[in-house]
Amino acid sequence: MKRVAEDELIQVRTTVNGRSYTFSTEARVNLADALRYELGLLGTKVGCEHGVCGACTILVDGKSARACLMLGVQAEGRDISTIEGWATGKELNPLQESFRRHHALQCGFCTSGFLATATELLRENPTPTREEVRERISGNLCRCTGYETIVDAICDPEVAAFARGEQSA
C-alpha cells in the first residue's frame, strides 16, 4: 500500500466472529475503537489505551492481542474473534457460565479481556494449574475481584471438559 495521507480514509475488509465486514477508517484509529465505533461491537472495552490493562484483549487469527495496540487498518484480511461471538444466542459458553457461577466478575469491565486470555490458554492446555493461570492472566487487570474467583472459574472441571471438547473438535 502506497503512502496514505493522515486525513484520508482507508478501506478495510475483515472477518469478525465469522462475519465479513468492510469499513473505512483513518490510519490513527486503533482496532478497539474501530470495532466499537465502525462495527458497533461494544463488548471490547477500552481501558488504559496503552497496552497495560488488558481490557481490550481479543483473538486475532486465534491468538490473543491487545486491540488498543493494533491499528484498525491492520485488521485487513484477519480473522477476529470478540466476546460477541462466544455465546450461542442467550446461552453463555461454559467458560462464561463458569465466570458467572464463581462470581469472577463484579463490574464486568475487564471480563471480555479475561475471557479472551483464558480462551487462548485453555486451547493450549485444558487443565492448567492455578500457577499457570495466574501467570497467564498477569497481563489483565481486575480491580473488583482480587483474582481468586477468576482463577477458580478458569480451573473449573466443567470448563476443562469444554476445553478438551473444543481441542478434539
Binding site: E6, N30, A65, L69, L71, E135
Partner: protein, 285 residues
Amino acid sequence: MKFPAFAYARPATVEEAVTLLASDDEARPLAGGQTLLPILALRMSMPSCLVDLNDLEELKSITVGDGVVRVGAMVTHAQNLASAEHRTHLPLLSAAVRHVAHEAIRTRGTIGGSLAHADAAAEMPLVVTALEATMVIVNQQGERRVAASDFFGGHFTTAIEAGELLTAIEFPISDHRWAFEEVARRPGDFALVMAAAGLKLNNGACESARITLGSVADRPLRATEAETFLVGKSVTAGVAAEAAQIATQDLKSHGDIHASAEYRRTVAGTMVKRALTRAAMEQSA
C-alpha cells in the same frame, strides 16, 4: 490517549520500506507496535508517517546455517518462544523471551522492534549483548552490519540512522552453557535487574566465561573483569560469589520509584551468582 494523526504506508518489500523512510525524516517504522503505539498514545512521539512492516514476510523467518542463527527483525516474541531451533542453539534467548511481557503482547511484539527501541530494562538487548550477535541494517546504499557491543548508545538510542531499517539479527551459535536470571515485580513486568551467564568448562575448569548485566545502566553491561577472574577456576558456589562481587563492586546503578540504586547493585550480585551456579550445573548435566 488517542494516537496523533499520521500518514500510513504498508510496503511490500524492504526496498520500498527503506525508500519511504529515506524520503521523510519524521517517518517511523511500525513493527509489532507494542512499544511504538503506547508511545504515540502518550504523545511522547508524533511521527509524520508510520511505515508498517507487517507485510514484509522476508523479515519473519528463523534460519540456521554456518554456525549462525539468523532471526528476522519481524519475528515475534511468541515465535521465538515456540522455536525448537532456539531451544537447541540459543537456549539463552528461549529462557529470556519467557520474561518478555504477556502472551497478548508477545503475539505481536517483535525482536527487531524491541532492539530498535533499546529500553535498557528489556530482555532482548541483554540477550544480543551476551551472545555477541550482529545487527543487520539496511539503507538505500545497501546493507551494513553492527556488532551488539557497538549497537546500543544509551537509553532509547541505537546505531540505526535516519532512513535505515534493522532487518535481521545474526547470532553465532555459542559453545557456552547459558543461564538467565531476572527479578521483576510481577511476571511480564520490565526487569528490575537481570543477568545472563555463559560458561565453557574443560574438565571442570572454566575456559571462558561471559557475564552480562541488564537494567542496571543505560545499556547492557558485560562484566569483563569477573569473566577474566573465572578463567582457569572451578565454578564452585564460593567462586561464583566472588565473581558476582567483582562484577558488581563498581556498579553505579540508578534508583527510581521501583528500586534504589543500592538494591539494584545488591540484587545484581545475587543474579550473577545464581546464573553462574546454574550455568555450571547445565554443563555437568
